[in-house]
């Protein structure tokens, strides 16, 4: 298998966090994994992105030129990376913040930020997107993923963990 994922949004939306979580969840079952953040002068509000590659074969470069899945948390990210895909690529778009229509056959539209607001905190929109991704491409079984997320967030405020899990399930069900 080969799955190349780009997650993009603005700093503070938790783009790097869900990328890292996805890569960590895959460690048990997928032999080759790379996670690469856009590092540098990133600040809250600026563009932020990360790439996760999951593969059964050795991964040459942690940076890909095309992606099998692109997760867009905001408009800037969508504008910047939309060229780097193939006809089959899946695009998951946060329609709360990406207003420009994207014409594609393989598209999943999530009103993530608004849904997150409904759950009580706009900041958990990232977990809604992660849930939506795993529902579409179960590279890790959603049940295992939920268990893993609880482990990874262990030590944080319990109500915060529950809120993130709730967001993850919301994404999963949509």
């Amino acid at each position: 298998m080969l799955e190349r994922i780009l997650i993009t949004g603005s700093g503070g939306q938790g783009v790097i966090l869900i990328g890292k979580i996805l890569a960590t969840l895959a460690v048990k079952s997928i032999p080759h994994i790379t996670f690469f953040p856009s590092y540098g002068a990133e600040v809250r509000g600026g563009t932020s992105a990360c790439q996760v590659i999951l593969s059964s074969k050795e991964i040459a470069s942690p940076l890909s030129e095309v992606f099998d899945t692109i997760v867009c948390m905001n408009q800037e990210g969508a504008d910047q990376f939309c060229r780097q895909m193939t006809k089959q690529s899946l695009v998951i778009v946060n329609t709360s913040l990406c207003k420009k229509p994207i014409v594609r056959s393989n598209i999943l539209q999530m009103d993530a930020t608004r849904l997150a607001d409904g759950l009580g905190d706009t900041r958990v929109a990232n977990f809604i997107m992660l849930g939506a991704y795993l529902a579409a491409k179960p590279v890790v079984s959603p049940l295992q993923a939920e268990k893993g997320i609880r482990e990874l967030l262990a030590g944080k405020n319990m109500s915060l963990i529950d809120l993130n899990i709730k967001a993850f399930r919301t994404g999963l069900k949509s």
Binding site: K20, A23, T24, V27, K28, H32, I33, T34, F35, F36, P37, Y39, G40, E58, A60, S61, P62, L63, E65
Partner: protein, 355 residues
């Protein structure tokens, strides 16, 4: 089977140093190696070891000098501009025959440059850097696993030869995360340090210096150093060989460039082009013989680097004009693309065979 964890390259070096029995770490912040300093700040105190954020890079390397002179294990890390500042200290370590591990997570240069990955410090690392006739052992990992494993090796080599060892890597390997199997063995065990300045109770005092003013003394030291370097050249050269037995096109690359070259190599083989790769793991000592041997029946060599062509000179020296050597590289933080390397491989594969 040992458990796999996901870690970035900088953290993997830090954890490697801890597992190698590093007693003290001294650092000064600079991107893209900050995760390493942060990791040591968190974890060295947990192991009751020393972490100091020094007032400068120069202070940090001299703290390493003091610690290793006292017979303890020490490491410092930085990125290119900071490593330039450490050169005097490294030359002093070499002159005083002291171990010590230095990590360079390279970024674009010259000057303050940028924070993108680079391999432009090859000359500095392998050809001296500081003043005087000395060498440091230079290890070049190409994965997060190797960042970890080679750090443990570095501490062993440093003490085995009483010589500074540099881990030469770059921002991309420092930042990327990969699954890693942590080292669970014992720290490397090395000969007793009867030379250390750790209190002269019940023995005559030891004296550590790199200043030799008496006529002939310094020459004698240099002869001794050169003999040591000859031993290192004989015993410690490491490289990875991939599909060179029948290769028409020989790729030579290290670190991040080698990862990308491997990608191009796989595609080339699938297209029926006989390509192979030598990946130097020690940059000093350099695998000259392995390259010469792998190039014997090749039509040409392609060196891939994130520089203007520095290792290129060592590769040319290896084949001494017997095989044409080509170069593909990018500078100032640029990283070569698989597709570009592939194009170059195809061109070399079309060269008419030499007699």
């Amino acid at each position: 089977m040992a458990k796999r964890v996901l870690m970035n390259g900088n953290d993997a070096i830090g954890e490697g140093a801890i597992r190698a029995g590093c007693d003290a770490y001294y650092g000064y912040p600079i991107t893209p190696q900050n995760e390493l300093t942060a990791y040591m700040a968190t974890h060295m105190p947990e192991h009751r070891r020393i972490f100091i954020q020094a007032e400068s890079e120069i202070a940090a390397i001299n703290m390493v000098f003091g610690t290793v002179a006292a017979g303890k294990r020490a490491m410092t890390s930085s990125s290119s501009p900071g490593i330039s500042l450490k050169q005097e200290g490294i030359s002093f370590l070499a002159g005083a025959e002291l171990p010590g591990v230095i990590v360079n997570v390279q970024r674009g240069g010259p000057g303050l440059g940028n924070i993108a990955p680079s391999q432009a410090d090859y000359f500095q690392a392998t050809k001296g850097g500081g003043h005087g006739d000395y060498h440091q052992i230079v290890l070049a990992p190409n994965s997060v696993q190797e960042m970890h494993d080679l750090t443990i090796k570095a501490f062993g080599l440093a003490e085995k030869y009483r010589n500074p060892v540099m881990i030469l890597t770059d921002g991309r390997l420092g930042q990327m995360m990969e699954p890693l199997t942590l080292y669970t063995g014992r720290p490397p065990v090395m000969p007793p340090k009867d030379w250390a300045v750790n209190g002269a109770r019940n023995r005559s005092p030891n004296f550590i210096r790199s200043l030799y003013l008496v006529e002939g003394e310094l020459e004698a030291l240099n002869i001794k150093l050169q003999k040591k370097y000859a031993r290192i050249r004989k015993d410690e050269i490491l490289w990875e060989d991939r599909l060179t037995r029948d290769c028409d096109v020989l790729l030579v690359a290290y670190g991040t460039s080698a990862r990308i070259a491997k990608g191009a190599l796989t595609v080339a083989r699938e297209a029926g082009i006989r390509a192979g790769l030598i990946r130097p793991i020690t940059l000093w000592p350099f695998p000259h013989t392995a390259i010469a041997k792998a190039a014997e029946r090749a039509k040409g060599i392609l060196v891939v680097e994130m520089s203007s062509g520095q290792m290129l000179e060592d590769v040319k020296m290896s084949v001494n004009g017997q095989v044409p050597v080509f170069f593909e590289g990018r500078m100032g933080g640029g990283v070569p693309l698989t597709s570009t390397i592939l194009k170059r491989i195809k061109t070399i594969a079309r060269i008419k065979k030499r007699r």
